[in-house]
Every structure is written in structure tokens, then in C-alpha cells.
């Protein structure tokens, strides 16, 4: 390989390597975002589970105790809820 060819090869190699490094960094970042998204999805499912159970408890109808035999008022209307 002549000196001239070495210089030309060096230029194209540098460009290729820099762009490859850039794409690699972006790919790593996207992987991190994917992991974060999975964590958030898990967190969202956990947050949603009690919210789904709450109306089920409210639909049980009259309950004994503090409220006697009256209907349990919907969540948020009792004193102290807000």
C-alpha cells in the first residue's frame, strides 16, 4: 500500500469509526430508555392494581361498623378523604 493510499484509507476509516461510535452511543441510550420504559410500565401496573380493587370494595353494599347499616359513601366524599 502506497503512502497516498494509506492517507485516503485513514480518512475514510476515521469517518466510519466516528459515525459508528456515534450510532453505538445512541443505541446504548435507546437501550437504557427501553429499560426505563419497562420499569415505568411495571410501576404503572402496580399503581393501577389498588385502584382497580377500590371500586370492588365499594360495591359490597352495607357494611357493619363505623357506618352502621348505611351504604358506604363513594370514595372521596367521606370527611378526611380530601
Amino acid at each position: 500500500m502506497s503512502t497516498e493510499e494509506k492517507y485516503v484509507a485513514a480518512v475514510y476509516l476515521v469517518v466510519f469509526l466516528v459515525l459508528l461510535a456515534y450510532v453505538f452511543i445512541i443505541a446504548l441510550k435507546l437501550q437504557r430508555l427501553e429499560r426505563e420504559l419497562a420499569e415505568l410500565a411495571e410501576l404503572a401496573v402496580k399503581e393501577r392494581e389498588p385502584a382497580v380493587q377500590r371500586p370492588v370494595r365499594a360495591e359490597r353494599g352495607p357494611v357493619e361498623g363505623v357506618w352502621g347499616n348505611r351504604e358506604v359513601p363513594p370514595a372521596g366524599t367521606r370527611s378526611g378523604d380530601g
Binding site: A10, Y12, I26, L30, L33, E36, L40
Partner: protein, 208 residues
């Protein structure tokens, strides 16, 4: 990009510069792309200040970031070419080189400014104003080759048009288009990642 490389190595004829002339087909399109990225960053900065476009700040940042990467490539490829042709990695007396370096360092300082401020409207506004100032340097850097008295740097284009054969000019145009397309693709990729990151942060804050 593949078509551009095929044209560069199998179609474009060699001139008196020899094989070293193949560097021109990648060095100049990279420099043009760097200018385009800085210009696009300036345009988005103007949109941010003028129209109060919320997305423009991030778009300006990504364009300038990409411009700096292409700026590094311009300096490195130019230095390799200069080492072979002139026998020096860098010539301080050459206006075009020094002005491009000034432009490059100016935009490097953009990141120092941006990350020295807390996220918010103040950071966005100051970054936008700084990016707009940099745009002024772009035509100076491009025209420096005309202002230079020594003319060491080869002149590919003058008032009479391109100083090259038709096939060389065609290859050059394809290389410029390929490099701009590559930059546009990388710009969209990085922007999508940044926006996703921003939305995930908002979602995390909303959930916690």
C-alpha cells in the same frame, strides 16, 4: 451513501492531485454538512425566540451537537489531507482553517453554556441567543477562502463555476446529498431519543 462511495472509487476520474483527491469527496461534503447543521441549529434557535416553539430548543441543541461531530470530522479529515499535501497537520496562517476552528470552538462553548445553567426558560433563551450569534460566523468561514491572500487551500468553486470535470462534479453532488441525508437520519434518531427521554422523565414524575 453506498452509491456515493461507489461513484467516488469507481466512477470519478483522478486528476493531478492523484488518489489523494478522493479525500475531497468526503471532506468537503462533511464540512458542508457541519455548516448546514449549525445553520439549522440557528434557524431553530430563531424559531424558539420568535415563535416560542417549545420543541425548537431541543431541535436546535441536537442540530448543533451533530454539527460539532461533523466539525470534528472536518478538522480530522482536513488535517490528514494537509499532512499528505502540505507536509503539515495544521497551518495557522491559513484563514479558512483557523476560521473553521473558531467556528467549531464557538459551538463547543455552546455546550459549556447550556450545561452551566439549570434547565428552564433562561437556559433555553440564552442557548438560543448564543446559537444565533454563531450563525454569523458561518458565511465568514465559508467566504474565508475568498478572503485569504495565500490561497494555499484549493478552490473547488469560483465565479466561473466548479473547477472540475462534469463526472467529478456529479460525484461530488451525490456525496453532498448522501452526507446531508445521513446527517438528517442521525438528527431524527437523536431527536427521537431525546424526546423519548424527556417524556419518560415526565411520566416518572407523574407516577411517583
Amino acid at each position: 451513501m453506498g452509491a456515493a462511495l461507489a461513484l467516488i472509487f469507481f466512477y470519478a476520474p483522478l486528476d493531478e492531485d492523484g488518489l489523494n483527491q478522493k479525500i475531497f469527496y468526503i471532506h468537503v461534503p462533511i464540512a458542508i454538512t457541519a455548516y448546514a447543521c449549525f445553520g439549522w441549529g440557528g434557524w431553530k434557535a430563531l424559531r424558539h425566540l420568535w415563535k416560542r416553539d417549545e420543541r425548537a430548543d431541543l431541535e436546535s441543541y441536537v442540530a448543533i451537537h451533530l454539527g460539532v461531530i461533523f466539525g470534528v470530522l472536518t478538522l480530522v479529515t482536513g488535517s490528514i489531507w494537509a499532512r499528505y499535501r502540505w507536509g503539515h497537520w495544521w497551518v495557522w496562517s491559513e484563514d479558512q482553517l483557523v476560521l473553521f476552528l473558531v467556528l467549531f470552538l464557538f459551538y463547543c462553548a455552546y455546550f459549556m453554556l447550556r450545561y452551566s445553567l439549570a434547565p428552564g426558560p433562561q437556559r433555553e433563551n440564552l442557548s438560543a441567543v448564543y446559537a444565533l450569534f454563531g450563525v454569523v460566523l458561518i458565511p465568514v468561514s465559508v467566504l474565508a477562502i475568498r478572503l485569504s491572500e495565500r490561497f494555499i487551500h484549493p478552490v473547488a468553486f469560483d465565479r466561473g463555476g466548479p473547477n472540475m470535470a462534469g463526472s467529478q462534479f456529479f460525484t461530488f453532488c451525490v456525496a453532498v446529498a448522501a452526507m446531508l441525508a445521513l446527517a438528517a437520519m442521525l438528527y431524527n434518531l437523536e431527536l427521537a431519543g431525546k424526546r423519548l427521554d424527556q417524556r419518560l422523565r415526565e411520566l416518572r414524575e407523574a407516577l411517583q
